[in-house]
Amino acid sequence: MPTDAVIAVENLTAAYGERTILENVSFRVRRGERFVIVGGSGCGKTTLLRHLIGLQRPSAGHVWIDGEDIGQAETEQLRRIQRKFGVLFQSGALFGSLTLGENIALPLQEYTHLPPTLIRLIVRLKLSMVRLDGFEDFRIAELSGGMKKRAGLARAMALDPGILFFDEPSAGLDPITSAELDELILQINRSLGTTIVVVSHELPSIFTIAERCIMLDRSAKGIIAEGAPQDLRDRSTDPRVRAFFNRQPQSAARRAAVGHRNS
């Protein structure tokens, strides 16, 4: 495995019982890259993400995170690998029983030996990074949707992981808030060199964030396209890919596919 690939997926097959979602999926993510996994609903994006972060085990194949196979790792090793990345879940997944500040302090208290004053300082530092300064004593229920996402991001970054995973960062956000979050993701990537892996189907978000993306498809059960989103939009020969990136209805894609076959 080349040293610049921080994530390497090899021949991954994912299945729930008898139902196979993904078959023989392979791709690599370079260190410091902004990588987006795209595709329509039900194509297995979220399943793929759950395999990448070790919530589900592959039916076959390997998922290498920083040289270690998260798909085969057991408890202690799994936990050590999982500490290398942060995950922003779709709805933030902040703990409702804690305040915002306590949510971010939790991993610091559990995994470092920092004194309380420094933890408090780092919590405020993280909050200032996601522009939520002054909200540390707020309860989670008092935060708006966009604030919850940013708070979730601050918690995901608490231990300064080298990789950040995002599950549908724009879902449920208004266009402005969503664009601000994208901007924040870019800034974090540029300033800290963090590897960014995003699962999304929001085109504006994809075009802003992605340096490279892979597109999954439900019937193909795997990757049908790989490359920069602009290239895929303008130059892909696959009608499904063009339809997705040009935001056309499925019927148009099917018509195009028929025309493609006829020509």
Partner: protein, 373 residues
């Protein structure tokens, strides 16, 4: 003049300032030691401090915290800290932080006046009472409507809840009431044999099971099983906006969510109680036959003279009231869920506690009523 410090921190005094040079990783692990070393190196220095971070191999928020904390401390002494050399990674990191915001005092809400707090609490009690009255009214109207137009009842749900609250609850009711009969008989046996009045074990077990223990234990089991389930189910529906969806679609939340649950429990709790009565009496029989050498026929003959139909019936009448209380309080608490998993947990606990309290209270009222009947 150069003074060497420890753990990768060196300090150098120049003509105009103190120059602090850090050459090791500045991360979450090294931060406390670095901060201590830097503080020691600075001593009580007042004035300009230059920070040289050019040789730092790794920098994360631990390092950021050290820099900010040092700068804060030096500033508060009247000095100044400047980063004179760094590298792109550190610049990028520090560019993300709004330093003033980090040290800005958290907005403090002014403490509320005692009178305001008392007033708020009183208003909350009034709001709760209002909610209770509205809910009770809706429940009564819903039940009256159900009796006048039985076809409007959502029977599919009602059957489902009858199965869950009734049939599924039989094993635990059987187990507990059998043990209750056994325990009662044992306790009675010790006293009764002293007076040679063994035969009266049938009276004691029969009466206490049918009049009190059967209905009460069954109701408490139902509160834990069904009342809690109702509260958690409606609470989760409320949190996930399903209740709002029902309301906006023009449906009556009572008819859809409450009436089937209340009716199911009203039908099933008496049934469970009859089973509990029978099994409890059998528990007494086991002790009478096995421990006191009373023939089974004698036990049953004595039981027939001691326990009247009214004893059993009065127990069953109570369970109808218990059922309404358990299901009603479960649903009411469910509707009081606000947001999140935590509140569902809280209202479920509250539903069980309130139901058990109301059961005991109602039982006391019934005892007095039946006494003077």
């Amino acid at each position: 003049m150069t003074a060497s410090g420890e753990s990768g921190v060196t300090v150098e005094r120049t003509a105009t300032a103190l120059r602090l040079r850090i050459t090791e990783r500045m991360d979450l692990v090294t931060a406390p030691a670095l901060l201590a070393a830097a503080r020691k190196a600075l001593g009580s220095h007042v004035g300009r401090v230059e920070l040289d971070l050019a040789a730092v191999p790794y920098f994360d928020s631990g390092g950021g915290a050290v820099v900010l904390q040092l700068r804060h401390e030096i500033h508060s002494r009247g000095g100044r800290l400047e980063i004179v050399a760094s590298n792109p990674a550190i610049d990028g990191f520090l560019a993300l932080i709004d330093e003033q915001a980090v040290f800005a005092p958290a907005p403090v809400e002014p403490p509320q006046h005692f009178v305001v707090k008392v007033g708020d609490a009183a208003l909350q009690v009034l709001r709760d009472a209002r909610e209770l009255v509205i809910f009770t009214g809706e429940l009564v109207l819903g039940l009256v409507d159900a009796f006048r137009h039985p076809r409007r009842i959502r029977w599919r749900e009602t059957w489902l809840y009858m199965e869950r609250t009734g049939v599924d609850g039989v094993p635990i009711v059987v187990l507990i009431s059998f043990l209750m009969g056994l325990i009662t008989a044992f306790q009675a046996a010790v006293q009764l044999t002293q007076f040679g009045a063994d035969i009266f074990v049938a009276n004691l077990v029969g009466l206490s099971i049918t009049r009190e223990l059967g209905p009460l234990m069954t109701a408490i089991i139902a509160a834990g099983r069904s009342g809690a389930a109702f509260a958690a189910e409606i609470g989760t529906m409320k949190v996930s906006e399903e209740v709002d969806a029902l309301t906006t679609m023009g449906f009556d939340r009572t008819r859809f969510l409450v009436t089937p649950k209340v009716l199911a429990l009203v039908f099933m709790l008496p049934c469970l109680t009859i089973i509990a009565d029978l099994v409890g009496i059998l528990g007494g029989l086991v002790v009478a036959v096995g421990g006191m050498d009373l023939p089974a026929q004698v036990y049953f003959r004595q039981l027939r003279t001691a326990v009247s139909a009214w004893d059993v019936l009065s127990g069953l009448i109570k369970t109808v009231a218990f059922a309404i209380l358990i299901a009603g309080v479960g649903c009411l608490r469910g509707f009081q869920a606000s947001t999140g998993a935590e509140s569902v947990g809280r209202i479920t606990t509250s539903a069980i506690v309130a139901a058990i309290f109301l059961i005991i209270l109602a039982d006391a009222v019934f005892t007095v009523i039946f006494h003077y009947w």
